[in-house]
Symmetry: D3
Subunit: 222 residues, 6 copies
């Protein structure tokens, strides 16, 4: 039976920054992969309809590039997750977990600066209890350049303990990342080709691969 | 190719307390499993020749019960590892890593009360660098009843993130544990049938199995 | 003067899971014990009037079984504490602290998965300042099976440093727990007789008792 | 070019408790120093117009005593920051960072008991990203007597690593603190002359000065 | 039955710096208190016979001032504990634990800069297992001015959670401290009257007493 | 007065891996910089006289390339520091601190895998007490590729909080690194041009520079 992978992205591009190479590799290995996008632009949050059109086209493009089996979109307001009862987010996640029955789940890191990332982590953690959604076997936190390394909270440094070889997939990850034109910037901006490549190279040298993505294993049931 | 598992035990019985069920399960799954016993009794450490005979017979019995592919014995003095240069222990471990080429390695927990456990962890960690012994893919720390839960060092609590279903193997683990007669005691002594069963039951309820062993994943390369 | 103990439960059953045995022992030792139930079911949260009747009857039964001196009920909406200003919860707690003047206080653990538990901890901590409510001499965090051990937040593992012998009270604790029929499940579900017994047995073996409850001492003034 | 220092105070008096001596010293050294007061009293929060008059006069007095270059006042409701979307607080901070272009920023500690302190830390951290406000070179957390040392959250103890000699400024710091009459109390109350002096003396003995303020360096770019 | 308290001091004066006031209070409350001095001066460590005479007279004086029931002296070489097998230190401690059968034990803090303090902590922790010395009910770590606050090890800050009111005993503690003339210095030196008083005052303001000593509870069995 | 910088390297090349760019920048800024090499090759440790000649020539070359004011060499046996009493290492460091009177000190990270790094950290920390060597104003830990990122000790991840812009010095740092021919390897080996450049690029993107070295500030007195 093919592995079922659920990648939870607070905003589109987090999935690529955090686990783009891993998604590509899992796809090559035959996994069914779903993309859960938690927030969405809307007029109430001050986005123009042009912004929103661009974003839709980015999502379509990226979806195709990865070949996701499914895309779930919750469209909660961007940068507003901390104003919602967590129970509401959990409720929406619950439907996704029930429908898709993932065995591997990717979450953003609990200590990221962005409040949306924190809420997504907490909601994901609540769904990871085995007696809620017994399909889940492994939960991993990914690192998001421009968020994870900017935490000022003492004791919050990302502690990678799980490294995925993405040597064959780094170029394509970078290609996909350029689909998010509005999110990219010039180096030393963290969401730039140079910075993404440097991180993958550094993580690779730590794990013996030409390029790697690093994760923190949160829980695995074997 | 069968998985190659190396279980590093500071003293005989640590392998059973920490990962007896997992060893049995891996064996059933076809893995090659080696037992590295780091210390040994000797007259200089105040053991009688009777003690030593009993211990030899325990080791033979346990070896047979698990069906280990190989047993490596370093025979460093018990409770004396902290007096040796770590480089010497690393040197001996290195031979084992070279010879056996493990992909999965089990270590005691760094914060155990016993100084032998700490030295073994440190030596194991030094050998886990990919550019030293590239065969290693996964390193896990196990918990040792009567050591791990007795640490008083603030910030040292064992943080399990990897749970192995040993429902089918708990009874046999308990059986094997009784081979170490001199190490067992009456409940509430931690090395007793009741305590071992209780821990496996508790770890099971955390992971959705009737019985489980819990580990802390230290590093995985995928 | 009898000891005055305040057990703060986000939801009914947390007091029993976390400190049922300790409550029974304290009662035997002559303490005055109050139960502060922070949340309540209500129609707005989607509970039927049948749910609510069952819950009321459970609370009455449990109250009688423990012989609480007082029961305080705040009836904040279940799973909604994170949507309230913490100051509002603190305000309600303040009345209880003023009225009951506890010297020993039991709180849920700060890192529990459940957002209600976190809010209750934070409100309790705010009331524990000596210059607010000078009666408080000791504050302890308890562990709640099905919440505490499911945290995925790195660095959040419960660190017990205070163990209470409940050998004589475990059976009765289990009996009381069965009053919460709707909350119990079949092992390996964490809220089951087997899991509760296993945890008490494991905590006992760590502290030299046939059964124990484990706590983290947060602050004591002697 | 003179150094530009931004002191962010959730409530008036936090700046003095946390970094009064340092402000005085920086002023003597020629720095431009701005005071950002995040909350304000208002009728809706239950303050009387007399309370508010007193507070205004305190602020004027303290402003003059320090000789702040600028005072920014956001007037969010006291003890209500946890009910606002963090994005809203960040938005207001952003204006201040843009206008004042600080190179050194002082924040309250993330783990303080007071929810207002936590929100202020999080909003400040979000503004400290170099690609947002490139002027920022150093971010430090200060300790607030009556908040920082009362945290019950395990693992939250303030870890000072940066000590400022305020030997010449302690007396004046204490003088300024008395301007906040309603906030001061009798020792052993933490906001008292004796307690403030004791902390400065203790921090001094740790760093080789007759009096010191202690900080935790969160990030510096050199 | 009177409480039996064991204060373990790596070097004479640690007991006073860390728990002088608490010893005096326990004595007043009728406890039997023993002083375990782990190291001793000797010629081999470069001490002159004059140094040693002074030290002997200090120990006699302090012993009388506290009225210790017993004084155990192991006379391991000062600043040499890290060169001994920990098992040897544990062996000597074991005799003391067996003989004196303490129920309350005071240890230096694990993260102190001084290697002797670390070894003493580790040896004490090994003896605190209930199945070794069942008399032990409570183990507390004390803070030693000039060691504890000088740790540079990230994550090592002392986390006090247990505060003892020594208001009536601070003056006498200071008096006793002056018996160690060679160890005292001029403020801001940490082992000075001003610094010791400031710390007691600060810890007092945190716990509601005019003066307090702060401890970290490591383990209690109730 | 020029700044006085002391870079403590357990082995030659640690100073370059950890702070090569920073040394070059400090030199350009006019600082006096000393290099303290703690260990040395010797025949007893199994090095050939050829090894030793190569090493001597590397040290000469590197010394000239940085233009160090002074080089202190202690020549303790490589990989043997854990067998020495720490007091002996501290004694040797003390001479250097007295002679050179540094105000800024660079240490390896406490949690590096290599036991030599740990001993050097501990000895350096002991010398950093202000009442020992009052010249010291700032102590920073550097990261050593091939050691720091390989720690398996849970809770030991390097937490950079101090970033130095080395954009103008990266190329020269890489050049100097190639002087250590025997220590370099082919990427993904961590001590390779690609890995060093990637880390500097990643640290740069975190701090807004084209290249940076990252440190953890341990203590600063201002």
């Amino acid at each position: 039976m093919p592995q079922r992978v659920l990648v939870i992205a607070p905003h589109p591009d987090d999935e690529t920054l955090g686990c783009g190479g891993t998604i590509l590799r899992k796809a090559r290995e035959g996994a069914q992969i779903a993309w859960l996008i938690v927030t969405g632009m809307n007029v109430g949050s001050g986005y123009s309809s042009d912004d929103m059109k661009v974003r839709e086209s980015e999502i379509s493009k990226v979806r195709a590039l990865y070949g996701f089996s499914e895309v779930f979109r919750l469209k909660f307001g961007t940068r507003k997750l901390d104003t919602l009862p967590l129970a509401e987010i959990i409720g929406e996640f619950a439907n996704v977990f029930k429908t898709f029955a993932p065995d591997q789940v990717f979450l953003p890191y609990r200590m990221d600066v962005h409040t949306d990332h924190r809420a997504v982590f907490d909601a994901g953690a609540a769904c990871a209890k085995w007696f809620r959604y017994g399909s889940v076997r492994q939960v991993l936190a990914y690192e998001t350049l421009s968020e994870t390394e900017f935490s000022l909270d003492p004791r919050s440094v990302f502690q990678p303990n799980y490294f995925v070889d993405i040597s064959e997939f780094l170029d394509r990850k970078l290609e996909i990342m350029t689909a998010y034109q509005s999110e990219m910037g010039e180096f030393p901006f963290p969401r730039s080709i140079e910075a993404i490549r440097a991180l993958a190279t550094f993580r690779g040298s730590t794990s013996g691969f030409r390029a790697a993505e690093a994760f923190q294993l949160l829980r695995e049931r074997y």
